[in-house]
């Protein structure tokens, strides 16, 4: 009987873990999101509501200088850099040039 309970508990945990792993919030992948609003009420812990293609999360923006509408890369709850729109354009231009050349 104890074995069955133990097995059931492990199975439920594995299901939960599987769901967690499928969640976009994979530990190792920082992904870009758009700043919806800012909250400076705690100066040591500046926060923002960030939209990741429809999923909104609270992200700490203490290390970046951002305004509403900017895109940040968020990792494990922190914004680690601001996506540089000009550089993004430059890279896309380079890639398009490659499409023409090859």
């Amino acid at each position: 009987m104890c074995d069955i309970i133990h097995f059931f508990r492990t199975y439920c945990l594995l299901l939960k873990l599987d769901k967690y792993n499928k969640d976009f919030t994979n530990m190792c992948l920082a992904i870009p999101g758009r700043i919806l609003s800012l909250d400076d009420s705690i100066p040591e812990l500046k926060m923002a509501k960030v939209d990741f293609s429809g999923i909104v999360k609270n992200i700490c923006v203490q290390w970046v200088d951002v305004s509403i509408g900017d895109y940040v890369l968020a990792h494990a709850g922190m914004a680690i850099s601001v996506v540089n729109a000009e550089e993004a354009e430059e890279t896309l231009k380079d890639l398009k040039q490659l499409t023409i050349d090859c």
């Binding site: 873990l17 792993n21 530990m27 190792c28 970046v64 890369l73 996506v83 993004a88 430059e90």
Partner: protein, 377 residues
């Protein structure tokens, strides 16, 4: 999804592959050291698109995989205490310690919580003043400052019950260890874009020059990865070796000074054991003495089990799963991470060692090289 979809564009990917085929004239080995890149390369099957001459190697870029067995045993020991809530990233739950993993320990009643962010552990500590809340703080330079942010926030809120059990690694010493190995086959490196978003590129300039090896800061989407590989190949074919940034939209040359200042304030370099590789001097980060009170490693003595990476038993096939015909087995994760072997060289890959019953850490973590190859093969 802005800033993602554009870099998954099929035409871009195909033109990059064509460009790579045009530039390659001889065999090259390119290594990445980043769990996220390992995973993306396997997921998008990028290696299959590349010409045969280009071999991708997967270095020790997954902190889940390289966390030493002894520290996992320590985390397990702490989690079993009734006055402790252990919080961890989900990836760590099924990594085998010397006898069991955190998931089994949780199934047996230990209070272990899976969290997305170390900052959530601070709220947990505030909500459970009667418990010691310990966050299993693993990571490279991208994640280390996030753990430190949680630490500072706990201090700011005067929480006496918040602790960190750290297992923190830095990338440049691993690159140095790999390149200084006489058996190394690595010709060029893709550096982890998000690590560089924090650290900046300075350390890599020194390495590129010292070992005459090109290093290209690379992102994670298919076009980003192929662009990084392409730029690395251009350098290799031309015989040049410098640091190039192929992920400029996310990585400024100077990285993130605020995050680094926080790391300087709270952490110091230390010798660090890497599971599967051994001790690499000055390759880890530990809490400074002033934060000794929040350092959970002081709670328990080093477990007797396995604190030595050379101990064969840490990598043996688990006795209950040992087939009589195979004899003593050994996980070759270390050889794979150093680039001297590949997953296809492993006798257990896909048979005795699968994500359901893993032998070593790289088959457990979703960012581990073996799990990535298994899932997408």
């Amino acid at each position: 999804m802005k800033y993602i979809d554009e870099y998954r564009d099929k035409e871009q990917v195909q033109s990059l592959v064509r460009a790579i085929r045009q530039v390659v004239t001889r065999p090259w080995h390119i290594m990445e050291i980043c769990g996220g890149q390992t995973h993306a390369i396997a997921r998008y099957r990028l290696e299959e698109m590349l010409p045969e001459e280009v071999k991708l190697l997967h270095g020790p870029g997954c902190p889940v995989c390289v966390t030493p067995v002894g520290i996992i045993d320590r985390a397990i020991g702490l989690a079993k205490r009734p006055d402790v809530i252990l919080a961890s990233f989900g990836d760590m739950m099924r990594v085998p310690g010397s006898r069991e993993d955190l998931l089994q320990v949780k199934a047996n009643g230990a209070d272990i919580r899976m969290l997305y962010s170390p900052l959530d552990a601070v709220s947990l500590a505030a909500g459970h003043p009667d418990k010691k809340v310990i966050f299993f703080a693993i990571g490279f330079e991208t994640t280390a400052p996030v753990h430190m942010m949680a630490l500072k926030e706990a201090v700011r809120r005067k929480l006496e019950n918040f602790y960190l059990l750290t297992s923190l690694f830095t990338v440049p010493p691993a690159i140095e260890a790999i390149l200084s190995d006489p058996e190394s086959r690595v010709d060029g490196f893709l550096t982890a874009g998000h690590v560089c978003a924090i650290t900046g590129n300075e350390a890599y300039h020194l390495l590129a020059k010292k070992y005459k090896t090109p290093m290209v800061v690379t992102g994670f989407e298919p076009a980003d990865l192929l662009l990084g590989i392409y730029r690395c190949l251009l350098q290799l074919e031309a015989g040049i070796y410098k640091v190039e940034n192929a992920y400029k939209r996310a990585v400024p040359e100077e990285g993130n000074p605020a995050a680094r200042a926080l790391m300087d304030e709270t952490l110091e370099l230390c010798d660090q054991e890497w599971r599967g590789i051994g001790v690499i001097p000055q390759s880890g980060l530990q809490l400074k003495e002033i934060f000794a009170r929040q350092d959970a490693s002081h709670f328990l003595p080093v477990p007797e089990a396995v604190s030595n990476a050379e101990d064969e038993s840490a990598y043996q096939v688990r006795p209950d799963k040992k087939p009589s015909s195979m004899g003593r087995g050994r996980c070759i994760a270390g050889d794979i991470m150093r680039g001297t072997k590949q997953t296809k060289d492993c006798p257990f890959f896909g048979t005795l060692c699968t994500p359901d019953h893993p032998v070593g850490a790289p088959m457990v973590s979703s960012e581990g090289v073996c799990a990535a190859y298994y899932r997408y093969k």
